[in-house]
Subunit: 430 residues, 2 copies
Amino acid sequence: MSTDQLNELSATAIVEKISSGSVTAEAVTQACLDRIAAREDTVKAWAYIDPDYALAQARILDDADVKGPLHGLPIGVKDVIDTSDMPTQMQSPAYEGHQPKTDASCVAMLRAAGAVILGKTVTCEFAGSFPGPTTNPHNPAHTPGGSSSGSGAAVADYMVHGAFGTQTGGSVLRPASFCGAVGYKPTYNLINRSGLMFAAENLDTIGLLTRTVDDADLLMSVLLNRPRSAIIAPETKPKIGFCRTHHWDSALAETITAMEDSLKRLEQAGAEIIDITLPESFAGLSTARNALNDFERSRVMADLWQNERDQLSTNIAKQLENGTIMEYNTYRDAVTLANDSRAQLEGIFGDVDFCLAPAATGEAPEGLGYTGDPQFQGCWTILHVPTISLPTHKGPNGLPVGIQLVGQRWQDESLLSWSRWVMNKLRPAL
Amino acid sequence: MSTDQLNELSATAIVEKISSGSVTAEAVTQACLDRIAAREDTVKAWAYIDPDYALAQARILDDADVKGPLHGLPIGVKDVIDTSDMPTQMQSPAYEGHQPKTDASCVAMLRAAGAVILGKTVTCEFAGSFPGPTTNPHNPAHTPGGSSSGSGAAVADYMVHGAFGTQTGGSVLRPASFCGAVGYKPTYNLINRSGLMFAAENLDTIGLLTRTVDDADLLMSVLLNRPRSAIIAPETKPKIGFCRTHHWDSALAETITAMEDSLKRLEQAGAEIIDITLPESFAGLSTARNALNDFERSRVMADLWQNERDQLSTNIAKQLENGTIMEYNTYRDAVTLANDSRAQLEGIFGDVDFCLAPAATGEAPEGLGYTGDPQFQGCWTILHVPTISLPTHKGPNGLPVGIQLVGQRWQDESLLSWSRWVMNKLRPAL
């Protein structure tokens, strides 16, 4: 694809063009809407979009002074995050037409910086695992991943420049890897969650789907009121931990190849690679994550479970039933293992600059009924560390295969800086 | 007060009476409503209450099988926590008439166990520091404390058997101490916060106002699906840490007397007392808590700040302005200090069974414009440990003065067990 189309430019390039007056916000939004009109019948990424209203937002920005660093930038919002001017429907009949009073924190922050809230993107039911209609933009017979299915597909398909997702297991990084986007899950709780419908509060993290690392960094700089993260000189030689995790046996050939190729090329670029082995106790985090997930979700959705059970999928109903009957000790043991593991991780990572790990088992599987295995993402989610999936490789069917970089808690700027360095080594054009 | 009045009995006694058929849920609710009718003009504890609807809930329970362990128990809900059948108005004109779609998690859990949701209790504006109209039930010229003002006053004044509060600084324990109730703030995040309007997500904790420790334990057993906490034999001899905290200089004479008297009598009961001194670095937690509070609240309320600023008090507007201009590094430094301090605390507490600390500076101050100094509560809130205020003493004006017990994170059952033991030693009638 050529990059003279406005919908194909990076967010960083777009805000420069709009603020310098070389394009209008309306033209940018129109380019996104045109792409959506051409592709939405196939991709089905949007839960709600009103083209006239999107254009109206853009025109108001064009008629005013530059509002902030995102002036005119179109953004998609996963449909479990509140918007004051669009319904928030959770991909559930129980929330059909539901209109929140206010924008979620993250939406209000971007809007205040000049973003155009383009529309709501398809989520799995309540950000769980029961899929919506979205397809993989590279092949509609394959899943886009989930639960941030629409955000991953829309960004990868050039329908919008960036979008919010949420990750409780693997819901930002898996669709990013499957669709070929950058998927960034910050340190737990770094993006304020006010106005997010929780899945499991101890795990839920709002994240970003973008096409470049720079774009994720731009949005974070606005959300957090911080400067852009540092540029690391190309000749810098990082110490990288390679971490197979306890799920290595589930890695398909294309993921193993992506890891081996990345390691080889990063080593050629001067990186020192060391193996990082997680303690045996970390193998229990998978079960612990399920326990946290079920126990907390059954509390988040207690009202719906009592009063609108017939509106829920059997998939989520089973989870709520598990959580409702779970004894507190089971939950507390899971929390304790998670807390202890988080405290240990800093020592395990030692002095590496970041870790490299599989982003997903492999390419997006065929079929739309299952959004894929969350283990390679979820094992880091419960550790609360920042992670990012970078679109670096392709699999045997020509579908994207990402790699995952993992940082230390609250060292998000370092992770973004190193992600930019890695992309420059592996895919210098992005 | 005699305890033959149904509104004056403990929650534990009430649910036994109702489930055994010796009184009706309707009679219990009616007793609460009668008390409210007699006292509300003075105490002003309720933001919303519909007596007919409360009685209708009770009658439905009377006509059905026992629904759960709280069958027929009236409960109050702080007006920053969502209810599906009553407005949730945050003590702000910006939320006048606001009707949430679903019950908050904690409300739905108690309702499913048979509780009658009696009404919504007055909060300070958005659970901050700008007070509502509530007065101290012991003397209407004095503050009830805040921000869970209505929950503290209503429970202490026998209008309801228990109520939810929330604590970001000192908003559960201070009204408990000032009004003479038990105020329990669990380990951070223990009570699910879905359906709570956040103040500052890294600090906000839902807690309980009750009249006995047993009652707090009963409600927790329902919320968490756990057995009641263990009864500690009266002859057991605990090791108690006495912690003056960095705020000791602000303790008034009545608080110092309450501490000294408690220590003397607990020592007579066989307790070993050791001094616990917090490291000098912990003195910075007060500033860190303000930074977390302002930064996060400015994100929670970003939409209101942009679009309904004229509806906000100057008090909260100042906080939002501080948070909006605060640089991320200031916030991150505050989070780092808080995280480091939490990790250190376990070693500082060592092998004590619990710590004893002041609950508040002293009696409730005169006047309704200021809900009191939050430091003695807030220094523990930011550490995420469970705390409880016990109504053990009186001050020079005859107003209540509490003492605070502090446990280790995720050791809430132990803290409740020891709280019961302490109350048996200091006020055996409660």
